[in-house]
Symmetry: C2
Subunit: 193 residues, 2 copies
DNA sequence: TTAAAATGATAACAAGTGATATATAACGAA
DNA sequence: TTCGTTATATATCACTTGTTATCATTTTAA
């Protein structure tokens, strides 16, 4: 009995997602979605009870995109630990607005979602151990330092403060981690004395 | 002939500064300033041609506050290079909203203001050399890595993703830089071979 | 063909914000 | 004291954005 919908919930979500990708949530509002889709605001408020609800669903899409990047890295044959850092930075480079939303605008909330927390699962530490040869506890400590460094690069990339090529970043990260590991081991040895 | 002004330009600027300190520019508008000062919006638009102009002046105050932190570090007797990193992080901790405004929200503009650029003056490199004993060119390269790490911590502090004590941060930074330096030197030696 | 159902367009309301027109009052020079 | 100057309050306009009321239209079961 009802007419065939012209604008599905998915259409609207995708449209909103693209807007946020370019302009962040600041650039998102009901009328802009409508304009891009070529409709009125009605289909939006038909499919979502409020803009807040729509924002939440877009936020989930963004988080899924992030997870996609990190999962693909984890599954790589060649040094998945290193790949995760590179993926984190690549995400910041490919989707700077998303990166800012997820990791640069929080104040208190969602501490659980942080890369440090959600990437520090047993498997990540073990993956790291394969590279470093450190004990589990040592790897945990070292991991924090590596992630701080990686996060630093990613933040600079997301804000376009530095504009390194993929190759430059790869070299910078690889070299730095290597050096950090050498220093870490050396200092550990000294402590033992 | 004119009545004595009740609300000076300075009053208004200070009030705006305090609001931005707590809530960022998102929380700043003419009516809120007026409410806090206990006046109408007239004194504001009397002293400033537009909110945009007021925002710019607040932005300058914020940048001055940042410079204050960095200058005080530079002047310290004890390891000014290390103090600069700590000051950068302390600024992020004391004024998270200011830090976000200056270093976490840029897209293209103000690349000149970046810590990497404006802290990489000759004196900073030389200050660093006193600690590391590296050559000028080497110190420059090493400096970038140290600042990326420092920036990483500062970003995490500003977003309250990590809530380390001053002592924990001091130890983390000092240890990490020490390790990075050891690794850097070691790798340099290997390259020489 | 008709009617129920609900999609979508139009228009409008409400709240928030920048900005301004107007009136008032304070202040000091004359 | 009077008057010109101008700081301030009040009220208002303009615009943006979330949201909704109203109505026309579409679609299909009967």
């Amino acid at each position: 009995m009802p007419p065939i919908p012209k604008f599905s919930k998915e259409d609207i979500l995708n449209c909103a997602y693209e807007i946020v990708k370019k302009e962040g949530f600041e650039g998102l509002n009901a009328r802009k979605i409508a304009k891009v889709l070529g409709c009125s605001v009605q289909p939006i408020f038909h499919n979502f009870t409020s803009m807040e609800e729509l924002n939440k669903e877009v936020h989930q899409l963004i988080y899924h995109k992030y997870q996609e990047y990190m999962l693909s890295a984890k599954e790589k044959e060649d040094n998945p630990y290193k790949q995760m850092g590179l993926s984190y930075i690549k995400f910041a480079s490919d989707y700077p607005e998303f990166f800012k939303i997820l990791f640069m605008q929080k104040t208190n909330l969602n501490a659980n979602d942080f890369v440090m927390t959600d990437s520090i699962g047993e498997d990540v530490i073990k993956t790291g151990q394969m590279v470093t040869g450190l004990s589990y506890e040592e790897q945990k400590k070292f991991h924090v330092k590596v992630w701080i460094f990686t996060h630093g690069i990613a933040c600079l990339v997301a804000t376009k403060t530095i504009q390194f090529t993929k190759e430059e970043i790869e070299e910078l990260l690889a070299k730095s981690i290597k050096e950090m590991l050498i220093g870490y081991k050396k200092e550990k040895k000294n402590e033992g004395k």
